[in-house]
C-alpha cells in the first residue's frame, strides 16, 4: 500500500511502500509540485531505485526553475539507500 498526498506548507507526505509498481501513483502527485517543497518520509517504509528516480526528476525540474526540494524524516534504512546511490549529497536531507 502506497499513498502520496500534498498538504499544507508545500509539504508532500509519502506513506507505505514505494516500489516500481507504485511509481505512476507517486508521479501523479509529485508532478504537480511547482513551488519550493518539502517531502515528508515519516510514514514511508520502503523505496527502491524507481521511486528515487522519480524524486530525482522532481529535484531536477525544480532546480532548473531556481526552486528547492527538501526531504525530511527519512528512516535509517531509507537514508542508507540514498547513500548507496551517492544521492545523500545531491538531495537536501534533514
Amino acid at each position: 500500500m502506497f499513498e502520496a498526498r500534498t498538504g499544507e506548507n508545500n509539504t508532500t507526505y509519502l506513506s507505505g511502500r514505494l516500489d516500481a509498481s507504485q511509481v505512476p501513483a507517486a508521479a501523479a502527485v509529485l508532478e504537480k509540485i511547482t513551488t519550493s517543497a518539502v517531502i515528508d518520509f515519516a510514514d514511508l517504509e520502503y523505496i527502491s531505485s524507481a521511486g528515487i528516480g522519480e524524486l530525482l526528476a522532481v529535484l531536477k525540474r525544480l532546480s532548473d526553475l531556481g526552486l528547492s526540494l527538501k526531504l525530511v524524516n527519512l528512516s535509517k534504512h531509507i537514508r542508507d539507500v540514498f547513500g548507496y546511490a551517492g544521492l545523500d549529497k545531491v538531495f537536501v536531507i534533514e
Partner: protein
C-alpha cells in the same frame, strides 16, 4: 531447505513477490537492514528482468538461509545472455545536472548485498545474490 516460487513477468505482481519474500524472511527471523536489502535486491533484479528480457516465461525466485548466509536466486528461462554484473558502475560523485536514473538499481543492489554472481546455462539466466547476516 530452499523456498521458491514462480511469478509472471509483470511489475504489477511486485506485491506478491514481496509477500513471498517477507514471509520467508519473517520465518527465518530476518528483519531490519538485512530484510530491506533483500527486498531491494529482489525488486531491482526482478524489474530489470521484466524490462530487458523478452521471454514469455515466468521468473523463478528462490530463497535459502544457511549458516547465517541468505542466498537469493532469480532464474529467467529461454532468454538471451545479459550479464548484469558487467553493467558499468554508476558514478555516484556526479552533480545533479549530470545524473541519470539508469543503472541506479543495479548499483544499489551491489551496495545492499554482499555478493552477486551471474550464470548463463541452456538459455537460462541465473542471478545469485548473498547477504551475510549478523549473528
Amino acid at each position: 531447505m530452499a523456498h521458491h516460487k514462480q511469478f509472471p513477468r509483470n511489475i504489477a505482481v511486485l506485491d506478491q513477490v514481496f509477500e513471498f519474500v517477507n514471509r520467508y524472511l519473517s520465518d527465518q527471523g530476518i528483519s531490519g537492514e538485512a530484510a530491506y536489502s533483500v527486498d531491494l535486491a529482489v525488486e531491482e533484479i526482478f524489474t530489470n528482468l521484466v524490462k530487458y528480457n523478452r521471454g514469455g516465461n515466468d521468473i523463478d525466485i528462490e530463497l535459502e538461509c544457511e549458516n547465517a548466509v541468505l542466498t537469493v536466486k532469480l532464474r529467467d528461462h529461454d532468454v538471451d545472455r545479459f550479464d548484469i554484473t558487467e553493467v558499468a558502475a554508476v558514478d555516484t560523485t556526479l552533480p545533479l545536472s549530470e545524473r541519470k536514473p539508469g543503472g541506479l538499481g543495479l548499483h544499489m543492489v551491489r551496495q545492499a548485498m554482499d555478493e552477486i554472481e551471474y550464470s548463463y546455462i541452456d538459455r537460462t539466466s541465473t542471478i545469485t545474490m548473498r547477504k551475510h547476516l549478523e549473528k
